[in-house]
C-alpha cells in the first residue's frame, strides 16, 4: 500500500470522527429537536433575563427565549420548551418567577393535574413572583429606618446638657447601651450576609442585591459606632479611660 493511500485513509477517518463528534454534540444539545414556544405575561420585567431556566419539579425543561414589552405595557416572556418536555405543560399549569435569597432566579412550572389537556401555544399565562430577596430587604428596611430615627434623636439630645440625659442612670447612657447592642447585632448580620455572598457565587443577580444590602448594613453600623463613640466621648470626657491595674 502506498504512503499516499495510508495518509488518505487517516485523513478521511479523522474527518469522519470529528464530524460524528460534532453531530453527537448537536443532537445532545437539542439542535435538531423542535421546540414549542409559550408566551407568559408579567406586569414587570424585573428579574427576568433571556436564557433563564424554566424548571419543573426541580428539573430544567426549557429556558426563556425572549422578552418583549407590548403596547399595553405588559411584559411578554417567550419560553421555549423542547418537544420531549412539552408534556409537563398543561392547560391548568401556572408559572412562578422564583427569586431565592441564594441561587439563580428561575421560572417554576407547577402542574397539579397531568391528565388535563396540553396548553395551547396561543394562551398567555401570567407569571406570579416569589421574591425572597425583596422580602428580606423589606423586613430589614423598617429596622434601618428606626435606627436612623433613633440616632437623630440622640444627636438632638446630645445638645441638651442635662443631668437627666447625662447622669449615670440618664437616658443617654441607656440609649448608648442599646445602640451598641444594635451595632453589634448589625455587625453579626453583616458577617452572615458575607457568608451568604460566599456561598452563592453562582447567583449573579441575587449577590448584587445582597451586596447592596451588605453595604447598607455596613453604613448603618459605621454610623451607629460613630454615634456611640461620640456619646462615649461626652460621657467619659472627665472619666479616665486609662487602663489601671485592678
Amino acid at each position: 500500500m502506498s504512503r499516499e493511500y495510508k495518509v488518505g485513509i487517516f485523513v478521511i477517518c479523522a474527518a469522519a470522527l470529528v464530524l460524528l463528534a460534532l453531530l453527537f454534540l448537536a443532537v445532545e444539545k437539542g439542535l435538531f429537536s423542535t421546540s414549542h414556544t409559550y408566551t407568559l405575561s408579567s406586569r414587570t420585567g424585573d428579574g427576568f433575563t433571556v436564557g433563564m431556566p424554566v424548571v419543573f419539579s426541580g428539573f430544567d425543561i426549557g429556558k426563556v427565549h425572549s422578552l418583549e414589552l407590548n403596547d399595553k405595557g405588559v411584559v411578554l416572556i417567550q419560553i421555549s420548551i423542547p418537544d420531549k418536555h412539552v408534556k409537563w405543560i398543561k392547560e391548568d399549569s401556572f408559572f412562578v418567577l422564583y427569586r431565592p435569597l441564594i441561587g439563580a432566579a428561575r421560572i417554576v412550572v407547577n402542574t397539579d393535574n397531568l391528565e388535563s389537556p396540553p396548553m395551547p401555544e396561543s394562551k398567555v399565562a401570567e407569571v406570579f413572583v416569589v421574591n425572597d430577596i425583596n422580602d428580606a430587604i423589606e423586613k430589614i428596611q423598617p429596622l434601618l429606618e428606626t435606627i436612623e430615627r433613633l440616632s437623630r434623636k440622640v444627636d438632638d439630645m446630645a445638645s441638651k446638657a442635662d443631668e437627666q440625659v447625662f447622669g449615670k442612670e440618664g437616658t443617654l447612657p441607656q440609649i448608648n447601651k442599646i445602640l451598641k447592642d444594635v451595632a453589634g447585632k448589625l455587625e453579626k448580620l453583616e458577617t452572615t450576609v458575607d457568608n451568604l455572598n460566599k456561598i452563592s457565587k453562582d447567583a449573579s443577580e441575587g449577590t448584587q442585591d445582597l451586596g447592596a444590602l451588605r453595604a447598607d448594613i455596613d453604613e448603618v453600623a459605621q454610623t451607629l459606632n460613630k454615634v456611640s463613640r461620640d456619646i462615649d466621648a461626652l460621657l467619659y470626657k472627665k472619666k479616665n479611660t486609662e487602663i489601671r491595674l485592678p
Binding site: Y236, T241, R244, L245, P246
Partner: protein, 220 residues
C-alpha cells in the same frame, strides 16, 4: 464692633467644638478590658478571651509595652482573684524588653513574693496589706481587705492571701460575699469550694457537707 462680636462668638463656638477626642485604640482597649473583667468573673470564659484578645490587639497598635503589660497583669490578677494559676510567660517577655518597676511590683504581689514588692509602687488599695502579709498578721489583713472599696481589688487581695498565705474563714467569707453581691459566679464557686476544703482540713465535717450541698444546689 459687630465684627468683633461675631469673631468672638465664632471663637467661643470653636472652643466648644473641640472636645478632646480620645484615640480609638484607647477607648476600645479600655472598654474591652472592662468587658473582659465582667465576662471572666461571670464565668463566660470564651467571651472573656475574645474581649481580652481584642483589647490586646488595640493596645498593640499603640506600641506601648507598659500598657500591654498592664493588660496581662489585669488578666493574671483576675486569675489570682479566683484562685487559679496563670501563665506569666507573656508578662515576663515584656518585662525582659522593657521593665517597669510598678508592674514588676504588682507581678510579685500576685505571685506572693511579698519581700520583692515595693509597696509604694502598688495601687493604693494594696499598700497596707503588704505589711500585714510580711508580718503574717491575719487580724490586720481581715480589716484591710474589708476596707478595699473596689470589689475586684478586694477579690484579688483575698485570692493572693488565700493562695500564698493562709486559709482564713473570715477572708473566705469576705470573698464569697463580694462575689455574691456582684453576681460573679466564677469567684463564688471557687471560694465556696475553698471554704469546703478549709472546713474539711479542720475536721468540721458537718459544715463542709453543708457547703458542698450548697454548691451542688447552686451549680445545678
Amino acid at each position: 464692633m459687630k465684627k468683633f462680636l461675631i469673631t468672638g462668638m465664632l471663637m467661643i463656638l470653636c472652643a466648644c467644638a473641640t472636645t478632646s477626642q480620645i484615640p480609638e485604640w484607647q477607648e476600645t482597649s479600655f472598654r474591652d478590658i472592662e468587658n473582659y473583667k465582667t465576662s471572666f468573673l461571670t464565668g463566660k470564659e470564651g467571651i472573656a478571651e475574645a474581649h481580652f484578645n481584642r483589647a490586646r490587639g488595640a493596645l498593640a497598635t499603640s506600641n506601648d509595652l507598659d500598657l500591654l503589660a498592664k493588660a496581662y497583669l489585669t488578666k493574671y490578677a483576675l486569675h489570682a482573684s479566683v484562685l487559679e494559676e496563670f501563665d506569666e510567660s507573656e508578662f515576663l517577655r515584656i518585662d525582659r524588653l522593657q521593665s517597669v518597676a510598678a508592674n514588676l511590683s504588682y507581678y510579685n504581689f500576685l505571685k506572693g513574693n511579698f519581700a520583692a514588692v515595693d509597696e509604694s509602687l502598688l495601687p493604693d488599695q494594696y499598700s497596707k496589706i503588704i505589711k500585714s502579709a510580711r508580718e503574717k498578721n491575719v487580724a490586720e489583713a481581715r480589716k484591710e481587705i474589708t476596707a478595699i472599696d473596689d470589689p475586684v481589688s478586694r477579690l484579688v487581695a483575698c485570692g493572693v492571701w488565700i493562695k500564698h498565705l493562709s486559709g482564713d474563714e473570715t477572708i473566705l467569707q469576705t470573698a464569697i460575699n463580694t462575689a455574691a453581691e456582684n453576681g460573679w459566679q466564677k469567684p463564688l464557686w471557687a471560694y465556696l469550694s475553698q471554704l469546703e476544703k478549709y472546713y474539711l482540713e479542720r475536721g468540721e465535717i458537718a459544715k463542709a457537707a453543708g457547703i458542698k450541698e450548697r454548691l451542688e444546689l447552686l451549680k445545678k
